[in-house]
């Protein structure tokens, strides 16, 4: 499904300073003698000012990971560092969080799939709650809450109750509330999964704007590739409690055989018969405008069939991908493939029986 136009211009907020770092993060759940390893040595590096997406099948450990970042879930081993502070060192024993950990948490915003707004409080009062916890005075709380409501485009809903809002509006309140403590980091666990596509888009746009305007680092969990495609600078793929692929989206797209890249940008098409070579060609930037296929055909005098092709915008960049079929086996096509690589294109020789596109996240959709 193509994104209807680029959401944002190139981003400039990303720096090389790490903001969220996990090392060897492990979480084992024990219940009635059974052990479930939800996280199995996760090393995550989120840089300042980036939007980082974590995707993976249901049960891959995504929620566990994000809940370990602010220690809502206590990791079994490994460390979590947020904005230079080792949170795992602050964790006391038992379920109670000590004063220092609570203070650190107040500087990490969190947005939830089901919004988690207090129905007994007005919108404004919900946004004031984190400030109450921080001990901010009443006047200042009100000022801040109204400012945040303005920021998320809900200035006229201050006195409404959450029950009177639509899903998208509730999530805007959730985001405003998460921003009340002036966090550097925003965690979002499937914050758009309960919303329809149009509302999802507007919430993602809001997150992107906040990221750009406030330099906010966003770590988000999702099972929708669309979300990653739309706003993420970097992404990680989780499987069975491990991060199996990670990097900036451009890096991933340029990685031959990257599962995430293939999911971000699937092209289909079955070969028309045996003894054919199927090649996936990815175009970035300028290469997209070169007539490479006709050049290839003329230069080597071969017939090329196009099995599938798509242009798309990934993270504000035009990317094209094409699946073509060359006659003959791979060995006979080494030279034409070399020609394509020389043109600066990324060329993946596809497995003739590739895994069906979408298999990666099929279980993720609820």
């Amino acid at each position: 499904m193509p994104v209807p136009g680029p959401l944002t211009a190139a981003h400039s907020t990303v720096t090389e300073t790490p903001v969220i770092t996990t090392t060897g993060l492990t979480k084992v759940y024990r219940s009635r003698g059974r052990e479930v390893t939800a996280l199995d040595g996760v090393d995550l590096h989120v840089r300042e000012g980036e939007v980082y997406g974590v995707v993976g099948q249901s049960g891959a450990g995504k929620s566990t990971l994000i809940r370990c970042v602010n220690l809502l879930e206590r990791p079994s081993s490994g460390t979590v560092t947020v904005a230079g502070q080792d949170l795992t060192a602050l964790a006391g024993r038992g379920n109670r969080a000590g004063a220092e950990l609570r203070k650190a948490r107040s500087r990490i915003g969190m947005v939830f799939q089901h919004f988690n707004l207090l129905s007994s409080r007005t919108v404004q009062s919900n946004i004031e709650l984190p400030l109450e916890i921080l001990g901010v005075s009443g006047k200042e709380r009100e000022r801040k809450a109204l400012e945040l409501l303005d920021l998320v485009g809900l200035a006229d809903k201050a006195k409404a109750y959450p029950g009177q809002l639509s899903g998208g509006q509730k999530q805007r309140v959730g985001i405003a509330r998460a921003l009340a403590g002036d966090p550097k980091v925003l965690l979002s666990d499937e914050s758009t999964s309960a919303l329809d596509p149009e509302t999802t888009r507007s919430i993602l746009q809001l997150l992107r704007d906040l990221n750009q305007q406030l330099g906010l680092t966003v770590l988000l969990i999702t099972h929708e590739m669309e979300v990653v495609k739309t706003i993420c600078d970097s992404a990680a793929l989780m499987k069975g409690g491990r991060v199996v692929e990670s990097g900036t989206v451009s890096e991933l797209l340029a990685t031959p055989g990257s599962e995430l890249a293939a999911e971000l940008f699937p092209v289909g098409g079955e070969p028309s018969g045996p003894d054919r070579t199927v090649v996936d060609v990815t175009f970035h930037g300028d290469a997209a405008t070169q007539p490479v296929i006709s050049q290839l055909s003329r230069t080597y005098n071969i017939d090329i069939s196009i099995l599938g092709a798509a242009m798309d915008t990934v993270c504000g960049k035009q990317v094209g991908r094409m699946r073509i079929e060359l006659p003959g086996r791979f060995e006979e096509n080494v030279v034409p493939i070399g020609f394509l690589r020389e043109q600066g294109l990324q060329v993946d020789v596809a497995d003739v029986n590739p895994a069906p596109a979408g298999a990666l996240l099929k279980d993720g959709a609820k």
Partner: protein
Amino acid sequence: MTWAEMQPLLRDASLDTLFMVWWSTLYTILGGLPLGILLVLTDRGGLLQNTVVNKAVGVVVNLGRSLPFIVLMVWLIPFSRFVVGTSIGPSAAVVALAIGAIPFFARLVETALREVDHGLVEAVQSMGGGTWTVIFKVLLPQALPSVIAGLTTTVIALIGYSAMAGAVGGGGLGNLAIVYGYQRSETGLMNITIVLLIVIVTAVQLAGDLAVRTLARRGGRQAAPVGLRRLWTPARPAPKPAATVPAQAEAPEAVKSS
């Protein structure tokens, strides 16, 4: 028996009943609310998870609930005498009533608090809230309608118990009905007593329902008076949703997820 004879008896008995119900309700809240909170917090996965405390409180509460009230009352006579210096009369009854109702109310509070979405607790924890914040800003406000409903049930049970307490010398309307209505066959007085009890119970129930409905309506979907409010305060700048954030007009909000 004439109305003039009955009137002072009825007035005193009603006041005694109200006295017993009022004070025992107060002590029931003071005792039952913390116990209910404790039961929830110390449970598995709770903020103050503590199996020993949870089991101990649970056993005491169950014990209190499984004893028939009349047995509890008789059993508590020495204790009542120790606390208020007498084992008969409304004051003594208050002790037994409160002790009988505390476990009952504690369970109702526990149930009410369990209904609160755990996501809300997590949200507050993620903001840096501690246990007290969770109790006073999340659990109690969110469960308030259910707690009030539980309290209504408890008060009505207390009215019933207070009449029963009358049977063992507690005073009040129950005592009146037994002493005059049963032992002296004053059917008229007995009927009036019954009507009075019905009136009191109904009044409590109506008041409780009203409170629950008012509280529940807060979170409901009724139209907020924001339109009017904006007319009255023209000084505030008009909301500009698209000023800082180019918020896409949300779809006609066909999908309303709760």
